[in-house]
Assembly symmetry: C2
Homo-oligomer: 185 residues x 2
């Protein structure tokens, strides 16, 4: 059972649990470079605005594409965030084009899964990579989604393979801004 | 082609284009009574917070259930808001249960359309009734949706039939708060 959507903030600056190892533009404008990043519920006092970097917000919302059987498969194998061994993370903010958002639900679903196999591809990398999707298009944020991944250093090459596969899909032709931020703790 | 989601505000108090004729709780808590209502883009200077009533916000976002063929049918017959003859309006804020939001996309779609025929029922009342859906669940608002309808006085009974039909559907068993506000101008 989901509860109300919960808002999270990603604040980059000179403090935070996560050290930013790299920031790379995949497509579109970059974000300002920063040293560290904190990630916490937006209501949390931990996150200040005065850290001199940038702040992105997104919320855990209801599932938009996955079917009941796909959710069952995902829930059977996925691991939560915060595993002690998962010392590597990636934050990948993405914005999709107006053409994507103008599509009907069945058209977006067909590109997302039947053509691009987004869930099926992701499933192959569970439970090594744990992840959480944060929605932000409806919040007036500069991105539509913030995707957050955590994995152990020994699973880094699996994570690279996952990201590379998704970027080759038909779904990704609708991505008009993407930044790849890698972190560790 | 859709553009970015656009935020609208509904402010009730003692001013506004629309006169509130009635406010009825369908299920759950009521809103405070008010005399008039204004509806405008949230960025608009027309809408003040100091009118002593309540203010709800919602945004026009991407389509969540309709298929391409359903959208084509809708777009062929629907009329825009603001028709001079459409002097009657209804604002129906709705909140659905946690059980609804925990369902997978295919489960929600099946209840919404294959079982409850939400789009098909609505289509039968076009073009007489024009409407716009505003999303607000992800904004932390007290409702998940604000639905706004406009129709001419001579179409009032058709509108009553539409609302009655939707309230009898399986989809509506997931509605845990609903208020029916009728207005004219």
């Amino acid at each position: 059972m989901t509860t109300a959507p919960s808002l999270f903030a990603f604040a980059a600056g000179n403090e935070g649990t996560w050290r930013i190892r790299s920031m790379a533009p995949v497509i579109g404008d970059m974000l300002a470079p920063a040293e560290r990043l904190s990630m916490a519920p937006a209501s949390s006092a931990q996150i200040g605005d005065g850290c001199g970097g940038w702040r992105l917000q997104g919320l855990i919302s209801n599932i938009r594409y996955a079917t009941s059987s796909e959710l069952t498969s995902l829930r059977r194998v996925q691991e939560p965030l915060g595993r002690p061994a998962a010392r590597c993370a990636a934050l990948i903010p993405i914005r999709k084009s107006a053409a994507w958002w103008a599509l009907a639900q069945d058209e977006r679903r067909a590109i997302f899964e039947e053509t691009s196999h987004h869930t099926a591809v992701g499933l192959a990398y569970l439970p090594a990579v744990s992840r959480q999707l944060f929605h932000c298009r409806d919040l007036g944020e500069p991105f539509d989604f913030l995707t957050w991944f955590e994995y152990a250093p020994e699973d880094a090459s699996a994570f690279e393979a996952l990201v590379a596969k998704l970027r080759q899909t038909a779904e990704w032709t609708y991505v008009e801004r993407e930044i790849d931020i890698r972190l560790d703790r």
